[in-house]
Symmetry: C2
Subunit: 359 residues, 2 copies
């Protein structure tokens, strides 16, 4: 069994490559002044009581933390390289949803045992993704305990440019990136809820285990989109966060939801479940003025990433005079491609997958 | 069972008091410019993909993360109010050790069940301490899972003024705050390793469950102390971090280690174990030039906190010519009040409580 410090030295302390050249321990005033061509500056990384981080002058730090628990967020026997990737990816996805540039992260890790093969794979998967975004590990904590991974990420953004959830406007288009439902379809296949073609499995498993944070998209949406968030709990639940914070409602065309051929091969009920109430997509959902459609289409081409218009933001309905309705009025009006509202008996099942309806 | 969002709303979303007046969601450029009399500025807190935090102009952020696991860092049945206090206290202690001013924190929480009484006590204990330091909860994550608390804290400090571990100088005095060993004595009593007077129990339990982060001391030591850290794993292990990072050795007088009457009533062996190899003290250990003795004594009076000189930093012994010694040369020379070195058979047991000796 490795000791805590042996473990950190061996798997989580990086050689000083180009990507980590900003890590040093000279804490003199000159050394700490941000240099013009280095947007962020880590003055001190792993090995002291705290890391020291200085955002570039005038920039804000965007901060998010996510905790992943074995058996709940991932199968305990998942490939450790994929888990290292995903643990950081879901956090970077939160930075993407704000339009922030990744800079650094901390890692707290509870491990049942310090298995070397597992740690090797996990740290490689983690750093492979971190290096792609020059996102530096600046501190952390390791302990024995039931497997638990808690990452806190730090990104930079100019004040006033963050893509918040409260910024949707009536008349905005609603967009999503990529395809929805692949991760949920993979999960259901693993749980034997349904069957998928064996030829589809590798792609679906990749969607579930190696989500791609939409960093480039988030950065490009600053000044173009209004509200944004990342889809982690499923469209039906997540879109409501934008609507509640913005005080608005939405109409969504379920037939417009982008889906893979693998999802499209399933029954309509499974397709709906995966695209509307499935989680773990880590695509961005954002709103933008109709005038931005051409620029968004061009962006989709530039990024080689599908961006699909799925609905419209609408005014909130005025509060009904009392007595209040027995059931809160839904914030999302689900329609099909012909604009026909879906029956309540169906949309009620969408809401069954989130817990935000009855507040 | 509460839902995740109900839980956050009920226990972790604060009313806008004076202490949290900086929390708002106006992300316009004017609103986000730090105002002169508000050192730090939280532009956006709980409820979006990320929190937005802007350090005061010219300040660095000191960042630390600690994960607490049930059964390892605390008894699963510990009073939740005390646990809320301690979870934040151990993180604030890292800020204290750098001389940083607390500003904000994130909380990730895995819970076996969302028991309301437990959450009520935990959040009250957490916020009671947070409010004393105007340290604002800016984001987090909650999930089901084996009880695990991961807090990341953010403090502010002027570049170049942080109390790092690598800054000890040969000839420095070594100081510790407060008393050492009470927490370890309480733990041993709970584990029935030894007995303590029942009259001592409340004070010992308080030391174990409600450690006091030495924030005021850390702030006052900027410009006065050289190296510093907080004692979480026991003096023998923790002091070595300073020595290794500074490339120096130390001589420590074990009879000078400050201890409570409760510890002093134990056998010499138990006293040594608790003061030297016991963990969970969360006192500061720091080094300073002998010329600073008077100012440090005055600081002790001002803070009403004992500050005790326990030893001296010495030059590193030059590396021996080969062959290397069979066992690495110890970095700490333990002596008694007469300056007499303790026998190896004894000091070897000190090192038995840390894992850092054999690298």
């Amino acid at each position: 069994m490795l000791t805590e410090f042996g473990l950190i030295d061996r798997f989580f302390t990086r050689p000083r490559t180009d990507a980590s050249h900003r890590l040093h321990t000279d804490t003199g005033p000159q050394a700490l002044a941000p240099t013009p061509d280095v947007p962020s500056h880590t003055a001190l990384g792993i090995g002291d009581d705290c890391a020291l981080l200085m955002p570039a002058p005038g920039k804000q730090l965007a901060i998010s933390t996510d905790m992943l628990v074995a058996g709940r967020h991932f199968f305990a026997d998942v490939e450790p390289h994929a888990l290292g990737h995903k643990a950081l990816a879901v956090n970077l996805s939160d930075l993407a949803a704000m339009g922030a540039q990744p800079r650094a992260f901390t890692l707290a890790l509870a491990l049942p045992e310090a298995g070397e093969a597992w740690l090797q794979g996990f740290s490689e998967g983690l750093f492979a993704l971190a290096d792609r975004y020059a996102c530096e590990l600046i501190g952390g904590d390791t302990t024995a305990g039931p497997l638990n991974i808690c990452i806190t990420v730090f990104g930079e953004i100019e004040p006033g440019r963050a893509l918040t959830r409260d910024a949707a406007r009536s008349g905005d288009d609603i967009w999503v990136s990529g395809q929805l439902g692949d991760a949920r379809l993979a999960l259901g296949a693993a749980r034997q809820e349904w069957q998928v073609d064996s030829a589809d499995l590798p792609g679906l498993r990749r969607a579930l285990e190696r989500p791609e944070p939409r960093i480039a998209l988030g950065l490009a949406l600053r000044g173009l989109a209004h509200a944004a968030l990342d889809l982690s709990d499923g469209l039906a639940g997540d879109l409501q966060h934008i609507l509640k914070r913005s005080g608005l409602t939405a109409c969504v065309d379920i037939d417009a939801l982008p889906r893979s051929a693998a999802v499209a091969r399933q029954t309509p009920a499974i397709q709906r479940l995966c695209t509307i109430a499935g989680g773990d997509d880590y695509e961005l959902c954002f709103t933008a003025a109709p005038a931005a459609r051409e620029r968004i289409a061009a962006l989709s081409t530039t990024l080689a990433l599908p961006l699909t218009r799925i609905g419209t933001i609408r005014d909130a309905v005025l509060a009904a005079p009392q007595p209040p309705p027995a059931r809160p009025r839904p914030l999302i009006n689900w329609v099909d491609a012909d604009g026909k509202p879906l029956p309540d008996t169906l949309t009620n099942t969408f809401h069954g997958f989130d817990h935000f309806d009855a507040d």
